[in-house]
């Protein structure tokens, strides 16, 4: 086992343990498992995924159920993130960490509603999660 694998395994263990302890990063309507991006390889096989490539979110409009977790995976070297304007997921705005190539970021949507998001440095990149 090389050191990278060790790191990944440890991260996966942390993610699993963190699933029920979302309070630390909870907004009013969403929860993030960890603010740090994770390796794309750690995204569960059955996860709901939005890939980011060629300056676009590949599923610009995604419908999920309340309680679902959405993973965004950056497929290109241009860094991207997921951000919400003020009042969308809480009183303030929310800005996810920047993802490098093959990094992922997960957000759990706790309430029904429409959640429009964008990429902080590329405001022309927009998407929406519809939670039923």
């Amino acid at each position: 086992m090389n050191s990278a694998m060790t790191f990944r395994s440890a991260l996966a263990a942390f993610l699993l343990s963190a699933v029920s302890a979302t309070g630390a990063f909870a907004q009013d309507r969403i929860a993030v498992l960890t603010h740090a991006p994770v390796a794309a390889a750690e995204v569960p096989a059955d996860a709901i995924v939005v890939n980011i490539d060629k300056m676009k979110y590949d599923v610009p409009e995604l419908t999920v159920q309340a309680g679902d977790t959405v993973y965004w995976v950056n497929k290109e070297v241009m860094p991207h993130n997921v951000a919400f304007k003020k009042g969308i997921v809480g009183d303030g705005d929310f800005r996810g960490e920047m993802l490098k190539k093959d990094q992922a970021y997960a957000i759990t949507f706790n309430e029904a509603g429409d959640f429009e998001y964008f990429c902080t440095p590329h405001p022309f990149m927009r998407g929406k999660v519809i939670v039923e």
Binding site: K85, K86, P123, F124, R126
Partner: protein
Amino acid sequence: MAALPRESTPGYLRLLGAGLTCSVLALGAAQAQTGTEPAEDADAAAAAAADGQTHGQRAAAEAAAALAAGEADEPVILKAPAPDTRRVYVQDPAHFAAVTQQYVIDGASGRVLGMTDGGFLPHPLAAEDGSFFAQVSSVWSRIARGDREDYVEVFDSETLRPIADIAIPDDAQRFLVGTYQWMNALTPDNKTLLYYQFSPAPAVGVVDLEEQKFDRLLDVPDCYHIFPASPTVFYMNCRDGSLARVDFAGGETEVTNTEVFHTEEELLINHPAFSLRSGRLVWPTYTGKIFQMDLTEEGVNFRPPFEALTEAERADDWRPGGWQQTAYHRPSDRIYLLVDQRDEWRHKTASRFVVVMNAATGERIDMLELGHEIDSINVSQDAEPLLYGLSSGSRTLHIYDAASGQELRSVDQLGRGPQILMTHDMGA
């Protein structure tokens, strides 16, 4: 702008002026720098040029004569002469410094008439009729950190006193960027100021200058720059290669897109020229291909594009380059473009030449050699225009006869990195 109060010089400023016990000679020098009465100034400048005296020498002689004649030294706060087509504003973004300055210069005499202070990357604006000038600016409670405040400031053209200070709300903050001449604009009736917001989403802020208040933020598509065509219609340049027409009359925002007018490989520069009076937009690419559009409230007429540089010149590495690289002279329908021989990716370095073109035919009229490393150009909008060439590196404004390209005069010590040239188009 009748709604903006015009105050007279308050008493405390007069007292401050009177309290300064400067010598006659020093006062003379101060007058040379700021000017006294417009008519006298123009004559004086001509006389100074004729007898070979500098402004400073002439002021010294006048002061010595006044002293010899027993005239008393009575320090006062001066007014700038009334604005004319040859007044030019030089904005100094100062290489991203937290505070900045703008120089108000008489192009005819090459004298600094006054100055205004600004915050971080302020955007300067000038009413075409000369009735006022303004800026959109940003300051922080602790110089470069702490609470941010964006605001619009309107200045009286002669006293240079702020006659309006309009707060921009925190959730409508402006785009902080290297100053692009048309990222903000005044509507042709001078009643509204429009500024751009990049993040969190493309938007245009509407500031009501008549009521002196922030109006609202307009949602716009992924488009940049603002070119007003009427009091309630403006155009923007969009990522998809089209222009957007935005109509914000009656509290609504209606957006429509034109046809795509350029390809992804045709890179339009950040400094197009635009005439608010005629609606002409002149937009070069990195290679010097010139796109022109006539913007009206109703729509856009795209003119056939042409090349500013010949095939031979392009093969020999001639390309546009600098900061404010494009100027348009409305009365003569001429285009001026900064060019030089350069590598493709040195498009922001200074240039030493200006190509002059007939905007109607695309025909080259002249290629002027500037004799200096020039970053920005503009022209006065009078019948015999002055060509302004600004060097950020040497912080000097060079003033040329636009017809012959002959350098007439220059003004130096213009801050730390002056970049933007702005004039009043006062003609009918």
